[in-house]
Amino acid sequence: MKKSIAVLMALIMLFAFSACGKDAAETPDVKGEGVMTYAEYIAAPLDSEVVVETYVQAKQSWWEDKATVYSQDKDGAYFLYNMSCSQDDYAKLTQGTKIKVTGFKAEWAGEIEIIDATFEILEGNYVAPAFDITAILGTEDLINHQNKFVTFKGMTVESIKDADGNDVAFLYNWDGSGTDGDDLYFNASVNGNPYLFTVESYLCDNTTAVYSAVKNLKIGDKIDMEGFLYWYEGVNPHIISVTPAQ
């Protein structure tokens, strides 16, 4: 009898370990009934109702029962703008939390997003690994990764002009009119092509490591970055981490 129990326990343990060993990303996303796949979401026309299951990757803001959230499933990303959300529920939206979102697909200045949405929390957890987008910068394929959690490798900090025409490493606000606590803007290049990056102050305020890191950038620094591939009249990544290039 004891032997049987021991064998059974061993089998259970083996099964459990094998499940643990499997990369979460490799496990296919099984969508609930009536829920769109990412491909179906992308194919849906603007202003149509969409229902998706996705995972919270980062939270931008909460005001008066509205939350703005960066989310992603294993196939693609969804920006959830001003989604109905109580303050209690907002606290539950930790990184990886699975949610079912019902809202409307919209486009604002090139950013595809879900607006006027409601959500419910589901069982499940997934934290998206940073997708290396460096080689795709400047290509037509870039927009296919919109809103994803991405990494930029081996970028070079380029100068940006302040209002006096001086070359500086970053600006408070897009034209330098801001002060500490406002959004930060800086240029970084790869293969000689510069791109504009933003530290969105609602996502990462002036107490965060990334805010300090950008304030300490020097022109010519080699850096790696992580962030969300946000769009505003073109690509406008919201950066959440800056480290020396590896």
Binding site: E49, S61, A109, A163, N173, S177, G234
Partner: protein, 531 residues
């Protein structure tokens, strides 16, 4: 770059803050009394919360104004805190009223002051200060060339009165303008009329919305064209109602927004959203971005946004290769009655917050006056399509020279900007403001929400008819707690009637706690007396 998420968030924040403030209440300050003399032997440190339009030139002008003022009054130190949004200032002021840590001087809107006034003696009434012989506007003891009260444009000054009391001074004024791709209008076979009518704008917009079989717009050959975009839909509704002679609200806070004219306006909006002829900033993005890319014919935005408008706009969020060449016409917003044009007056005002030290308040008042000096008025007005608020500035040679040089360059003398300024200068008598009361900011938001919701519903294939509009009236009334405002106005009760249940519960708990404390003290006293 300018992002909608922040704007919407701040509007919501302001609403939240207004609720919290009503809930917290504040400790009252003594009424301000004007000192006989300004004490120059003491150092006074004041805080100025200013707003700029994410415009470095405005930041610089504020900094220079402070530096010049401190040189004139070496015993006054002005600390500036810069904002880029009125809603954020409003939010922060309300939060700080509860702890008596407001700024000393603040850029604001009268709608917001109406909420600040729910704190006792929070905002300094300026009527007596303005006419004080020594320290009033143009007073004998003022150490710079301050404008007299008569030199402030009377209409702008009257906009700063709440229930007949002057609580602010105007700082800058603007209105809305219709920025038009004239090239497109003419390509469609139309000529711009002397006065733009709504019928004309709708008709041309419908013509511009025509597409070929592949979905390309005939007018621009692109896949994107929104012929008519309105930035501020609250202004759109308010101005249409005023032009129609229909109700909106009165000074007592009685709300008449939900009327038959509003219904007609919404049905018209629905009709043109359905054909793709009309959209809004909140739905689509900044009108300037579409206008400059040749994807819009009529873009209505503030005159204070004029530096973003046109194919040579000095400020822009779109890539250079997206710009197209076209002739930009700047006209007053469309009118219902060309013989009686009506347009909104807007723009920042400046108020003084009360403090326990009247000398500090007087120092603030001196600084406010300095903001109305020609040095500041002319310089700041040139940063955008703003109009100085004093005749002294408007009639100065320097300002006249500035206006005469429209089009000399695409920066300081950018033609579209100066045309926008002239538009307001030529129409000051046609401008109006809405009544200010505690809750008028919510009503304004509700007015815009009606248009936004209607437009979204049409885009989503919903039917917009009388039944829809009835439901919309009901949901918007509830969302902005306008029924509570109406009840308050009718009974003269405080805005706290509109508080959420949780806030009411908190107030009840606080009251109960105080009653409990008083009962305990009374019992203890009785006990001691017995002993």
């Amino acid at each position: 770059m300018r992002l909608k998420s922040k704007i919407a968030a701040l509007v919501c924040a302001a609403l939240t803050a207004a609720t919290l403030f009503s809930c917290h209440g504040s400790r009252g300050l003594p009424e301000f009394a004007i000192p006989d003399e300004f004490d120059t032997s003491r150092r006074h440190e004041i805080t100025f919360w200013a707003k700029n339009d994410t415009n470095i030139n405005q930041t610089r002008i504020y900094e220079k104004a402070i530096s010049d003022f401190e040189a004139i009054y070496p015993n006054i130190k002005v600390n500036i805190r810069l904002y880029t949004d009125y809603g954020k200032i409003y939010n922060d002021v309300i939060t700080n009223i509860a702890t008596n840590t407001t700024p000393d001087v603040c850029i604001t809107y009268p709608d917001h002051i109406a909420t600040y006034l729910t704190g006792e003696n929070t905002v300094v009434p300026l009527d007596e200060l303005a006419i004080n012989p020594k320290y009033g506007l143009g007073g004998s003891e003022i150490k710079f060339d301050s404008p007299s009260k008569n030199e402030i444009i009377p209409q702008f000054l009257s906009e700063c009165k709440i229930e007949g009391i002057l609580y602010a001074l105007p700082f800058m004024r603007s209105t809305e303008a219709c920025y038009i791709n004239k090239t497109f209008v003419e390509k469609l076979g139309y000529e711009l009329p002397e006065t733009l009518s709504w019928d004309f704008v709708w008709e041309v917009s419908e013509a511009a919305a025509k597409q070929d079989a592949d979905g390309n717009y005939l007018l621009n050959g692109q896949k994107v064209m929104i012929p008519f975009i309105y930035k501020s839909t609250d202004n759109m509704m308010i101005q249409l109602l005023r032009q129609s002679g229909a109700g909106y609200s009165d000074e007592n806070g009685n709300i008449s927004l939900f009327n038959d004219t509003t219904r007609e306006i919404l049905l018209t909006v629905a009709e043109h959203v359905k054909t793709g002829a009309f959209s809004t900033f909140k739905i689509s993005s900044y009108p300037a971005n579409f206008l400059n890319a040749g994807q819009c014919v009529f873009a209505i935005d503030s005159t204070a946004g004029s530096t973003w408008m046109g194919s040579e706009a000095p400020l822009s969020d779109i890539a250079e290769d997206k710009f197209v060449e076209f002739e930009t016409a700047v006209m007053p917003i469309p009118q219902i009655n060309a013989d009686n044009p009506r347009m909104i007056s807007q723009g920042p005002s400046v108020c003084v917050f009360n403090k326990t030290d009247p000398q500090r308040v007087l120092a603030s008042w001196l600084f406010v006056q300095y903001l109305l000096s020609n040095e500041v008025q002319i310089a700041y007005s040139q940063t955008e399509g703003y109009v100085p608020v004093t005749k002294k500035a408007q009639e100065s040679d320097e300002y006249k020279d500035y206006l005469s040089r429209a089009g000399e360059d695409t920066n300081e003398h950018y033609k579209v900007k100066i045309d926008a300024v002239k538009l307001l200068l030529d129409n000051i008598d046609s401008t109006f403001v809405t009544p200010v009361f505690n809750g008028s900011a919510s009503l304004r938001n509700a007015a815009g929400q009606l248009i936004e919701n209607t437009a979204k519903s049409v885009r989503r294939g919903e039917t917009v008819d009388d039944a829809y509009i009835e439901n919309l009236y009901s949901s918007v009334t509830s969302l902005y707690r306008l029924d509570s405002l109406n009840e308050s106005a009718a009974s003269g009760r405080e805005f706290t009637e509109g508080l959420p249940a949780a806030s009411k519960a908190l107030l009840i708990c606080l009251s109960a706690a105080w009653v409990g404390i008083l009962i305990y003290i009374a019992k203890e006293k009785i006990k001691r007396n017995r002993i």
